[in-house]
Amino acid sequence: MGLDLAYSVEQQELARSVDGLCRRCGTGAGFTDSEPLPQKYWSGLADLGVLALGTADGGGGSLEIAAAMEQLGAHGAPGPLVGTFVAGALLDPSEMEPIAEGRQLASVGQPPLMPWAAAAEVFIELSSEGAWLCEPATAPEPVETTAGEPWGRAELQRLRHLGDGISAAALGEAAAAAYLASAAGHLVDIASQYAKDRVQFNRPIATFQAISHPLASCSVSVTASRIMAREAASAIDNRDPDAPAAAARARLSAVASATAAAYQAHQTFGAIGFTIEGPVAHVSLRIRQLSLQPLPQAAARTRVLQGLGV
């Protein structure tokens, strides 16, 4: 039995379309300067069917989500992506339709601090205890985040139990893992290119092993995380009983390698990577943001233990 990690022709097609959308929209530094979720970009994703992936109506599964998230991660693209896919795994088709069409946003997390709450219409509480469709008791108090996302603080009232949330959480973690591993890979790539171009002390800084070796180490861990993210997506699509543990492993691995890659990219780029206008900051901040979703890392560790039969 082989571990087939290659994407199908259709999945590659989807990936190319998502990449093309991101390039046309210019999802780079400064993309969210005027609005946290530029309309053209988000409706573009809806039109490509990305926001409906994993649902009965939308078709596709975790591998399609992974293919899309890899492209989105490489561009550091914004939006309540993980929340959208988790919502797709939990809600009825009629509830999911406006979200899949990009007309409503889903806020998925653990109250009171909810991702994208200041801009969302649909609220889902997701924890190790289960999942609930909720509504805010009062209007969420807006909270700005380091990645410029419109989060909010809200007391949520539970409306309907959506199940134990285990497979939805796994799907969300696998999606986050794909995004993070790819964002990390992008940072390693651009840092490597910069190190070749940047001359100090009469030589490209890439010729210093203090620069090239850490990037090489990052490359190893990023590749590993990418593989684990795809493995998790496959496990979910194949309804493998190990899927929740695989997703948790992938998420923990991706968070670690993305954090390390962000640090190394900052070191390689120097001060220019510390500016908002530079190529690193917006991706690095989004990595930090996404590494906190959809559940705390402690919950992922519990799943990994469970996967070990403990």
Partner: protein, 422 residues
């Protein structure tokens, strides 16, 4: 970066002389001054070691800083180890250390003066003419004139000797053209210390001159840069035909590198002796937060808090070594690099641990408590610490070469336009 820090002992040669005031008397005076003013002025740290109002608009920060330094000056507690001739107290470095020890419990909002006090003033003292010292030191030490440092360029970061900003001799004047970058506080500065290439035909380290630049002169354009933290505390500075008179030269023409070494040595001391709590989250704050969230029983969290607490203490002790070396009259050595490297690692560990303990709130700029922004602030500022004031890589080179005596990496000689070696 150095939140609410106090001035470091200056690397100057007057430190061994000074008025005879006992340490105890002085300490009592400092303590009573701070106990009286700090609560009234809001010079108190939150549990994260952050000074209040750090996110305030620029003019508010400047006003707070000026008020603090003025109060200190009026009480005879500013420019402690500086000669009376320039407005100082003519006391010793030891007295400055006593002041710093007492001030560590508070958050004196003196950050915007740190470059001037910690780097520019010692350089003017060491290399300036007497007219330059008399003109520039008193208002600098009083906070009336803020200074910036114009060293780094787009093509000259870690390799400062690669700088290209040009100062062309024109009779008795100099005409400056080029670009500086990462100039902290340029937008507030009355004066800057500029390192420029005055003789391009000379060797890499020769042919540079240091100048004192009046930042209001024509031919200077300042463009703020936005940092990840959201603030704009540093800028690009463009020089286009800016004319400086001969009295702007600081030190000898062509000896700019030597002058710059003084500045960089003082910067290293300044950073090395700064409060480690200013770098990230104190272990105590993270422990309190873990307790608040019912995580204090988690052995993984406890282990990481303990490791952090230990490394924090180490960083503080390394900083003390720098201070002790100075007080003993030694030239600052690699101790400052060691302290900085330790500090940047601690700050990264504390940021990662905060994310673990605090969860999503670590990404939020506002929250349930007044110090909520501390989490987000550290997340955004930590990447800069291993880069500003000497990168981690440069710190390791210094330690490898000067402490372990390991050989340098082979140098690649520069090639000039004719293909010959420089």
């Amino acid at each position: 970066m150095t939140a609410g820090s106090a001035p470091s002992p200056a690397v100057t040669d007057h430190r061994q002389s000074g008025r005879k005031v006992s340490d105890d008397d002085f300490r009592r005076r400092v303590r009573s001054f701070l106990a009286h003013h700090a609560p009234r002025e809001g010079w108190t740290r939150d549990e994260h070691g952050r000074p209040p109002g750090d996110d305030a608009p620029n003019d508010v920060r400047v006003a707070r800083a000026r008020r603090c330094l003025t109060l200190l000056f009026d009480a005879g507690l500013a420019a402690i180890s500086w000669p009376r001739a320039y407005g100082g107290q003519d006391l010793t470095n030891r007295h400055q250390v006593v002041f710093n020890e007492e001030a560590a419990a508070y958050a004196l909002p003196l950050d915007i003066f740190m470059i001037g006090l910690g780097m520019c003033a010692p350089t003017v003292l060491a290399h300036g003419t007497e007219p330059q010292r008399s003109r520039y030191l008193p208002p600098l030490l009083r906070g009336a004139e803020i200074w910036c440092q114009l060293f780094s360029e787009p093509e000259a970061g870690s390799d400062l000797a690669g700088l290209r900003c040009r100062a062309e001799s024109d009779g008795d004047s100099w005409v400056v053209s080029g670009q500086k970058v990462w100039t902290s506080g340029a937008h507030n500065a009355a004066f800057g210390m500029l390192l420029a290439r005055s003789d391009p035909s000379s060797s890499r380290h020769g042919g540079m001159t240091m100048f004192i630049v009046d930042m209001s002169l024509p031919g200077i354009e300042i463009r703020p840069l936005r940092q990840m933290t959201g603030a704009s505390r540093f800028s690009e500075v463009f020089f286009d035909g800016c004319r400086l008179e001969s009295d702007a030269v600081l030190g000898e023409v062509g000896q700019g590198w030597r002058t710059a070494i003084t500045t960089l040595m003082n910067e290293r001391v300044s950073i090395g002796t700064s409060n480690p709590a200013g770098y990230g989250h104190p272990a105590s704050a993270l422990a309190a937060e873990a307790r608040r969230r019912g995580l204090i029983e988690d052995p993984v969290i406890v282990d990481r808090i303990c490791r952090l607490a230990i490394r924090e203490r180490i960083t503080g002790l390394l900083g003390k070594r720098v201070t002790e070396a100075l007080l003993a009259g030694a030239e600052p050595g690699p101790e400052g690099s060691l302290a900085k490297l330790s500090g940047t690692q601690v700050s990264k560990d504390s940021a990662a641990l905060a994310m673990e303990i605090v969860g999503p709130a670590a990404a939020a700029w506002s929250g349930d408590s007044g110090s909520a922004a501390a989490w987000a602030s550290v997340q955004c500022s930590v990447p800069g610490l291993s880069i500003a004031g000497g990168t981690d890589e440069i710190m390791r080179n210094i330690l490898a070469e000067r402490v372990l005596g390991l050989p340098r990496e082979p140098r690649v000689p520069a090639v000039n336009e004719n293909g010959g070696r420089r």
